[in-house]
Structure formats: structure tokens, C-alpha cells
């Protein structure tokens, strides 16, 4: 068997069989899911309670319509969420009086009452007037939203009525105005809110950034381990450094792809389930439509970016004997990953500008920036092909460079090396 394949197989099996790998592969999505699910769960248990609110209405005209609208799921989006989460709001109207506030205040302190609202007498006539909401927990977003929303509607309706306009007329006029954004490409039109592309661009950029750093570090540590345990000298007398490097990068990359593949499948399932539930809850379709082509692009750019960065990290590893020695040397590579992340927002906002086009063609940035452009618009095909070609070329360039650093680095012991010294190794015959 070819020695590169022996190294590849060994590195791949070493990774895939390790307990840490298996646990992380299975638990990773659960952790990611937990980040989404746990806060939602807490939010739902909070709102699952019955909220008991009171209003002291000094105008005497607003409280009734507020009470009517507060649980009206047709006009109040919060009421819709609340009814989906099976939480309830009870609203009491308290007539204003000298002791009304004190007694309500005591009830709130005793947590019998969630909170209460005071509406000033000039609420309808004076636009500078301010209503107050007092709660034992002012961060109770749901309770505050209920009160604010229904107060705003009630004041608006009252103002309209006082000017002789029927509020229903206004509601009728406001409704029935619909705007839809469509993605127009290659003669087909697709319903697309635009935000899906932006969100996907950010999510994939983040995943790429994380996994490249994660797996880059794994490869780097595997190189460092061979060096610090001194087993490398024996390996180097059996395999050419180039074969060792390629086998290592591809072996660990294979393990990484399997892990990320498993994560991706689980993540897609989880979000589909979550968003389907959310769609049902909110009564509108929030499921993004992502074409399968985008997934193919993701995989392609991911693999190429992965190979480029993994190779660079392997070269860095060969210059050090312990993980703490590599900080200075790994800085340039980390910068190459951080820069496109910083530029991401600008590129998403104007994906076709000359600046965006040029930046997305830089091979070290392409995995994040070209992919972001693909998600937000469809760049000309030649730009995608050019980016892929440049990345493939860069991979081989990095491989050549890394191999030259690697074959010298693995045999150098005893000190930390500066970048200038490492640059000299490249010129060694």
C-alpha cells in the first residue's frame, strides 16, 4: 500500500475511534440545540404562568378597549404567541382613587399581581403624557409588551374617535397592503425574504471559521505530538515528509468531514423541526427555502478551505515542540481567518461591488466571502469557477510551502523559531 494511504488510514482511524471524537460527534448538535432550546424552554415556562395585571385608568375611556384586545389573537401578535404557549393574561380594571396605587403596589410586592399600569388623565389629549407600568419583574418582556401594545392601540382608537373617524375604517385601510420580496434569477422567481440568505451566510461563515480553527489545531497538535515524543525521527526514516504531511491532512480532514456531516444532518433536522413548530405556532411560514445547490457549494468551499488551512496549521505545528510555542507563528494564519469574518457584513450588503468581488476571490477569504455572495445573490459563474480554481492552486501552493517548512521543522529541536528563521527553511535544498 502507498505510504501516504497508510498514514491517511492511521490518522483517520486514530481520530474516528477516539472516545472524545465519538462523544463530540454525538453531543455537539445537542449542545448546539441546547443553546437554542434551553432559553426558549425557560421563556416558555415563564410565560406559561397566568399573568394577572391591573389598570388604573384616569381617562376612564381606555381600559375597556384594552381589556377587549389583550387576548384577541387576531390583532395582537403577543396574544398569538401566548396562546400557543398556553399562557394567559387576566386584566382587571381598578377605578382611580387615593388608595388605589398603594393597595395595588402591595399586591405586586406580595406577587399576587404581576404588575399594574397607571394611565394619566391627559393620555388622549396630550401627546407628551406618559403612562407607567410597575412590575415586580420589569424584564417580564411578555407582560410589558401586552400592556404597551394594547395601550397604544387603545389611545390611537380613542384619538381617531375624538376626531370623528371610525377606527375600523383605519384598520381596513391599513390591512390589505402586502409587499413581497422575490429573488429573481435565471428567469425564475422565488419567494425569498432576503434575510434567509444573510442568516445562512453568517451561520456558514461561523461554522467554517470554528471548524477550520478546531481542525487546524487538531492537525497541529498531532504534528507537535510526533515531534515532542521524538517518534518523528523514526517516521521520517520510513516515509517522505511530503507523504506524511498529505496523509495527515487528508486523514484528519476525513474525520472532520464525517463529524461535520453528522452535525449538519442533525442540525438540519433540529432546525426543520423547530421552525416547523414555530411556523405552526405563528401561523405563518418561517421555513427558509434553501436550494440543494447551495449545500453543494457549501461542501465544496468547505473542503477546499479546510485543506488550505489544515496544511498551514501542519506547517506551524512542525516548528514547535509544545502547543504553547506556536502562538507567534500561528498569528498570520489566524489573521487570514479573522479578516474575512470582519469583512463579511460589508460584502453581504453590497455583494456585487468591485471590492466584494475582489475580496471574495482572495483564496484564503473565498470559503467565507464567496460563499456569502452565493447566499445573498448569484455571482457570475466565472467568478465562482475562478475562486475554486484559485483555491485549488493555493492548496497546492500551501502544500509545497508547508512541505518545505515541515521537512526541516520536524527535525529542529530545542528552541522557539521566529518567522524570519522559518522563512529561511523554505530556501533550504
Amino acid at each position: 500500500m502507498n505510504k501516504t494511504l497508510i498514514v491517511l488510514k492511521h490518522e483517520f482511524l486514530q481520530k474516528v475511534r477516539s472516545r472524545a471524537f465519538i462523544i463530540m460527534t454525538l453531543i455537539g448538535p445537542l449542545l448546539m440545540g441546547a443553546i437554542v432550546v434551553v432559553p426558549a424552554y425557560f421563556a416558555s415556562t415563564n410565560t406559561g404562568d397566568i399573568r394577572h395585571l391591573a389598570i388604573i385608568d384616569s381617562t376612564g375611556r381606555l381600559a375597556q378597549s384594552m381589556k377587549a384586545s389583550v387576548n384577541d389573537t387576531a390583532t395582537n401578535v403577543f396574544a398569538r404567541v401566548a396562546s400557543a404557549l398556553q399562557s394567559k393574561v387576566l386584566l382587571d380594571i381598578v377605578s382611580p382613587g387615593p388608595n388605589a396605587m398603594d393597595s395595588l403596589g402591595r399586591l405586586v410586592e406580595a406577587k399576587v399581581l404581576t404588575g399594574y399600569m397607571t394611565i394619566p388623565a391627559n393620555a388622549i389629549t396630550d401627546s407628551a403624557s406618559t403612562a407607567q407600568i410597575k412590575l415586580h419583574n420589569p424584564s417580564d418582556f411578555t407582560a410589558v409588551s401586552y400592556l404597551k401594545d394594547s395601550y397604544r392601540n387603545a389611545v390611537r382608537d380613542a384619538k381617531l374617535t375624538s376626531r370623528g373617524i371610525d377606527p375600523n375604517v383605519v384598520s381596513n385601510v391599513e390591512s390589505g397592503v402586502h409587499v413581497e420580496t422575490m429573488k429573481l434569477e435565471a428567469g425564475t422567481e422565488k419567494k425569498d425574504s432576503g434575510s434567509t440568505g444573510v442568516i445562512m451566510a453568517f451561520i456558514t461563515a461561523f461554522i467554517l471559521y470554528m471548524t477550520m480553527i478546531l481542525y487546524g489545531t487538531i492537525i497541529m497538535n498531532s504534528v507537535i505530538e510526533e515531534k515532542s515524543s521524538r517518534v518523528i525521527e523514526l517516521i521520517a526514516s520510513s516515509v517522505r515528509p511530503f507523504q506524511l504531511l498529505v496523509g495527515k491532512v487528508l486523514g484528519v480532514a476525513g474525520a472532520g468531514l464525517i463529524q461535520i456531516g453528522v452535525w449538519a444532518i442533525m442540525l438540519v433536522l433540529l432546525t426543520t423541526l423547530g421552525l416547523t413548530a414555530a411556523s405552526a405556532m405563528l401561523g405563518q411560514d418561517v421555513l427558509p427555502s434553501i436550494s440543494p445547490f447551495l449545500f453543494l457549494y457549501m461542501i465544496l468551499f468547505f473542503i477546499l478551505g479546510f485543506l488550505i488551512y489544515a496544511t498551514l496549521y501542519a506547517a506551524i505545528g512542525s516548528t514547535a515542540e509544545s502547543a504553547s510555542d506556536v502562538q507567534q507563528v500561528s498569528m498570520p494564519v489566524v489573521m487570514l481567518l479573522v479578516v474575512p469574518f470582519v469583512l463579511l457584513q460589508g460584502v453581504i450588503q453590497s455583494p456585487s461591488s468591485t471590492k466584494s468581488v475582489v475580496l471574495s476571490l482572495v483564496p484564503f477569504f473565498s470559503p467565507i466571502l464567496m460563499l456569502a455572495r452565493i447566499f445573498t445573490e448569484t455571482p457570475p459563474w466565472w467568478q465562482i469557477v475562478l475562486a475554486v480554481a484559485l483555491m485549488i492552486g493555493t492548496f497546492f501552493g500551501c502544500l509545497w510551502l508547508a512541505a518545505r517548512i515541515y521537512r526541516v521543522g520536524i527535525l529542529m529541536y530545542g528552541k522557539k523559531f521566529k518567522l524570519s528563521e522559518i522563512a529561511k527553511w523554505v530556501r533550504y535544498t
Binding site: I6, L234, S237, L411
Partner: protein
């Protein structure tokens, strides 16, 4: 005369500004134990790395088994580096399997070779243990097995005894002699001259990147023309220290033994008569100079060109 197993011709290697190996040439005959000697930093390890194919010479040629050096030769060389180590997290067997397969071994031959050597070194019951759980002596055995596993025609051992406990050192010496008798060729690099006296048929001595002396051990000794006396005695021999001016030099000195060099103007017989007046002599033997002396002599002659002795 048989084709040399290894032949270096004008091999030079430079690191940065330092010329680690400078126009080195020597041959190693099949079935012999060849000693590459010299102090630390003489260029031994640099030379060995080129022989084992880890690095390439800047100039000069290396021939192995009568052919110009190529990649597949690595499979025929067993190498025990001075900087040695094992994968800490791999089991003994997994370690041997991976490194054996990197030497081009087929899995069935590999399995039986592993079984043989684990049995021979009596560590079969440890094959499932991780390296990090092994004692140092055990790790040394595993390291030595890695050198022998693929039945190499040429063994290259860099400072094989450094860090070894006496039991393992004895075991290695024993196995080396056995392999030599089976026709394997062995290159030993060391700065410890006693081991060379014990094992080597032929030597090359390096200093500052150059070969300063090379040839068969016996011939080099015969050539030296120096008169040395090994003496065992009882009594106070301190008077000999001032005796030096008349042509007697103390080379080695322990409480009851001395190695003396007798100058050309002095006769060993006269010296014995004189010394016997002061000391009780238990042994008085004319000996060939030890390799260490030859080495010091050769270095003293630098930078004159030292003729390479070829049989």
C-alpha cells in the same frame, strides 16, 4: 571483494552557515559491524540522517546495496535514532503495526514478526498496554523491536546505549552480534569507545564534520607504532607523574591500574626494573593502543590530511 552495503563519496551537508558534514567518504562491508565515532557535534547524526534518507546530501553520492540511493531503500534499513520516542497513546502492538506497515511490511508477515520479537524480548503480555504505561526499560525494548521488525539488511543505530539500563544494553549487544553472524550489516554511531572495542570490525572517526581516521580496528592499532603498557600494581605510584620527562606518559590511571605510554627513548624492560623497586607489580603487559588513543592522536594531527586506510 564484495560490493559494499553502503558507500559514501564526498558527501557534504550544510545547515545555514554551518558545514555539518564535509566531504565525507567511507565504505561499509556486508556482514560487519561498523563504528562511526566522534565527539558530540562531530557530524555523526547528520551523516546518519542522510544514510537513512531523512535528509539529502547537498553534494556527493550515497550508494546503498550497490545502487544509487532511492526511496525504497528506507524499507531495508532499520534505524534507531538517538532522539527516540514512541506514540504515547498507542498500544505496543498498534505502534509496531503502524511503524512496521510504514516500512512496507504486509500485514501477515508483520503480525508474525511482532509475535516473534515480543516473545524474544519477553514483553508479549504487554502488547495491549499503552506506551505511557510502560517502564523506561520496556519502552527501550519496544524501540529496539521497531528497529528490527522488518528484518532490515542494514541496521543504523545512533548512540544505541545512551539511556539504556545495563540489562537492556547487554541484550542489545547480544542481539547485534547474533544479527552480524546472520550476515546483517550494522552501523553503530557512538562517542563511547568501550562499546566500539567490544563490537566493531571497522571504524570511521569524525571530528568537526570530517573523517579524521578510518579503517579496520586491528590494522589501525597495528599501524600506530606506539608502545603502551597496561600495569596492575599495589603501592604508591605517584612518583610516575614526575617521571614523565624521561619519556613515560600516563594515559589512564585508576587506584590499582595504569595505562602507560613508553616513549621511543625508553625501553619497557628498563622501565619495569625501575618501577618494580617502588611498587608490587601484579601485571605488566604490552598492549595495542585503545581506540580512544587513536582518536585523540588523529585529532591532534588535524588539519593535516589523514590517509584513509583501505583493506
Amino acid at each position: 571483494m564484495p560490493t559494499p552495503v553502503l558507500s559514501l563519496e564526498n558527501v557534504t551537508k550544510t545547515y545555514g552557515r554551518q558545514r555539518a558534514v564535509n566531504a565525507v567518504s567511507f565504505d561499509v562491508q556486508p556482514g560487519s559491524i561498523f563504528g562511526l565515532l566522534g565527539p558530540n557535534g562531530a557530524g555523526k547524526t547528520s551523516t546518519i540522517r542522510m544514510i537513512t534518507g531523512i535528509t539529502m546530501p547537498d553534494s556527493g553520492t550515497i550508494r546503498l546495496f550497490g545502487e544509487t540511493q532511492h526511496e525504497d531503500h528506507q524499507n531495508q534499513i532499520g534505524y534507531m535514532p538517538e532522539e527516540r520516542g514512541l506514540y504515547r497513546k498507542l498500544t505496543v502492538r498498534a505502534q509496531l503495526e503502524y511503524l512496521g506497515s510504514l516500512k512496507g511490511m504486509e500485514s501477515r508477515a508483520l503480525a508474525s514478526a511482532i509475535d516473534y520479537w515480543l516473545g524474544r524480548f519477553e514483553i508479549k503480555s504487554w502488547e495491549k498496554k499503552k506506551t505511557s504505561d510502560l517502564s523506561k526499560g520496556m519502552q527501550q525494548k519496544v524501540q529496539f523491536i521497531l528497529t528490527l521488525l522488518h528484518d532490515p539488511a542494514l541496521l543504523v543505530l545512533d548512540e544505541p546505549l545512551s539511556g539504556l539500563d545495563p540489562v537492556n544494553a547487554e541484550l542489545i549487544n547480544e542481539v547485534l552480534l547474533e544479527l552480524r553472524d546472520k550476515g546483517k550489516t550494522i552501523i553503530l554511531s557512538t562517542h563511547r569507545m568501550e562499546q566500539v572495542e567490544q563490537l566493531c570490525d571497522e571504524i570511521a572517526m569524525m571530528n568537526e564534520g570530517k573523517i579524521v581516521l578510518a579503517g579496520k580496528v586491528l590494522e589501525l592499532k597495528a599501524r600506530s607504532g606506539r608502545t603502551l603498557v597496561a600495569m596492575r600494581f599495589a603501592g604508591d605510584a605517584s612518583f610516575l607523574k614526575t617521571y614523565g620527562e624521561s619519556g613515560v606518559k600516563i594515559l589512564e590511571h585508576t587506584p590499582n591500574e595504569m595505562l602507560l605510554e613508553v616513549g621511543p627513548s625508553e625501553k619497557p624492560g628498563d622501565l619495569l626494573k625501575h618501577v618494580a623497586e617502588y611498587l608490587e607489580i601484579e601485571k605488566w603487559e604490552l598492549v595495542k593502543p585503545p581506540i580512544k588513543e587513536l582518536f585523540l592522536e588523529a585529532i591532534a594531527k588535524q588539519p593535516q590530511v589523514v590517509a584513509t586506510l583501505q583493506a
